[in-house]
């Protein structure tokens, strides 16, 4: 459906579309921060980890992953008995790799996209002669991602020799060596500790996974890449070199790869609340009339792969944090149909620095203040989406069900605001809550995975309002004790159906 006329300032923007994808990369799990460090301390860990990695069919059939791409709703996921990882896809009809919101991408396809993401000569990533044509043609045959297959190979690959001498990181597919990643060995990069192969693999992975999500967004919306006029990236990576370590440029790198020739862009950083901050910024840019089609993109975090692997090994479970998450959201002026992002003054929940002296003050600001401005009681919001970590991962990792803790927090605020009684807390949580389903990946599970489900339900008339509540552990930067929060309310379009 067309967007109404020229961009006009004033009214609230809408969440026009979104894409939610997962990239299954079991052989990149050893390069996650925790696995990498543990293997370095004790090489025997490597084979034990390798023995617990999942196959693509297993990752595909995994119900939380199916929920991330929209093939299951959170309510349907809650009905499936635990352990969810026992659903290996053998007993039932094999689920499709694509769902309403996007795709679960297999590893080989992602390796090809990584290759496509390289821009340097000599390339940062190189595949061995034997397998590279197959990797490329698999990408060329993909119904949505085939545009990425337009790249060339080096005439004489040297990557195998470099891996053998230890100067490049191997890229495996099980026992088969497919290729490798090298550091920036050019004069400018040779002595730069921040341009090692591991860091560059991380950066390339953000670009490649972000580009997959953005391409899916364009595909779902049915628009050309050139129609996007601004892109905001919001991951937690630090892209740059020794002099500008986290200076960014990921939004435009991703947009360039996807052919968004009309777009400019920037990176927004706010730890786990990055996507929420980016979405608010995107909405404000649209509301001001500056831009008409703003895409918020989040690539996945390689560093967080396998973070809880020790818990899985200890419990005889498969490694469940083996997927990169990637999301893209399209924000446009009001089209009369799509769910509205509230951006009236006071309707975005902030944690002001002054309030950050106490937890209670922070959450009153985040939750109660915006609802007060909107004239709403807490019960007027159908669902609250806090961090949505998969409980199957978090409970075995010894953190308990973090999603449930977040809902206890929300219910506690309702009690302190005299809107419910303490005894009503469990029933309130049941009403406004849901089960978690997203990978433990910082900015990825932080509320936004519910956006696809919420906007779909609102379009179907099944939901009126949802509040998205993101927390950010700013104190992890070591120069503050603060943590941050951002909340926003999305509501079914009042003009829809008229």
């Amino acid at each position: 459906m067309a967007i109404s006329g020229e961009a006009t300032g004033g009214g609230n923007p809408v969440i026009r579309n979104c894409a939610q994808c997962l990239v299954h990369v079991p052989d990149l799990v050893p390069y996650g921060s925790k696995p990498h460090r543990e293997i370095a301390k004790d090489p025997a860990v490597g084979p034990r980890l390798a023995g617990a990695l999942r196959s693509f069919p297993e990752a595909l059939a995994y119900p939380p992953n199916q929920t991330f791409i929209g093939s299951l709703t959170p309510a349907q996921l809650a009905e499936i008995p635990r352990p969810w990882y026992s659903q290996t896809g053998e007993q039932n009809e094999k689920p499709a790799p694509t769902g309403p919101f996007g795709e679960i991408v297999p590893q080989d396809l992602f390796y090809a996209v990584l290759n496509a993401a390289n821009v340097l000569t000599p390339p940062l990533i190189e595949f061995v002669s034997e397998h590279r044509e197959a990797l490329k043609s698999r990408l060329a045959d993909h119904p949505v991602l085939s545009s990425f297959a337009d790249f060339d190979f080096v005439p004489e690959p040297t990557i195998e020799a470099e891996i053998a001498e230890g100067s490049a990181l191997p890229l495996w597919s099980g026992e088969t060596l497919l290729g490798g990643v090298r550091r920036d060995n050019r004069a400018e990069g040779r002595e730069d500790q921040y341009l090692d192969a591991a860091t560059l693999l991380e950066t390339l992975s953000v670009k490649a996974s972000g580009a997959i999500a953005l391409t899916w967004l364009l595909h779902r919306e049915g628009i050309e890449a050139g129609e996007i006029d601004f892109v905001i990236s919001c991951g937690e990576e630090a892209a740059g070199d020794r002099y500008q370590r986290g200076a960014g440029g990921m939004a435009k790198s991703i947009a360039e790869m996807c052919g968004c020739v009309s777009a400019s862009g920037m990176d927004v950083k706010n730890f786990c609340a990055g996507p929420a901050s980016a979405l608010v910024t995107a909405g404000a840019l649209v509301k001001s009339g500056l831009y008409k089609r703003v895409a918020v993109v989040a690539g996945g975090s390689l560093a967080k792969l396998g973070m809880k692997f020790q818990a899985f090994l200890a419990n005889g479970m498969p490694v469940l944090d083996d997927c990169l998450g990637a999301m893209a959201i399209l924000v446009t002026p009001d089209d009369g149909v799509s769910p509205v992002l509230h951006l009236e003054p006071g309707t975005i929940g902030n944690a002001s620095i002054g309030a950050s002296t106490s937890d209670e003050a922070v959450y009153r600001e985040l939750i109660l203040e915006p609802l007060k401005v909107l004239g709403l009681a807490m019960a007027d919001v159908d669902k609250y989406a806090p961090e949505l970590h998969n409980p199957e991962i978090m409970e075995h990792a010894g953190s308990g069900d973090v999603v449930h803790k977040n809902y206890r927090l929300i219910a506690a605020i309702a009690v302190l605001a005299d809107q419910i009684a303490k005894a009503e807390m469990p029933a309130f949580v049941e009403k406004i809550g849901m089960v978690g389903f997203a990978p433990t990946q910082g900015h990825i599970p932080s509320a936004i995975p519910f956006l696809g489900h919420a906007t779909q339900a609102m379009r179907n008339g099944a939901m009126r309002r949802a509040m998205f509540l993101c927390k950010a552990s700013l104190f992890l930067n070591r120069v503050t004790e603060l943590y941050d929060g951002v909340s926003f309310v999305v509501e079914a379009n009042p003009r829809a159906g008229s």
């Binding site: 786990c272 937890d359 010894g398 953190s399 973090v402 803790k405 004790e481």
Partner: protein, 41 residues
Amino acid sequence: MLKDKKVAVFGERDDVTGLAVRKCVDAAGGEVVYEATSCFV
């Protein structure tokens, strides 16, 4: 019981933060000599 004691504080972002515990210990006359808040996600 806390007065004049040297205290190490271990908080958790999704439970009780180190900051909240520290404020309580300070108010009770204790001295926080170590503080960490973990973020397991």
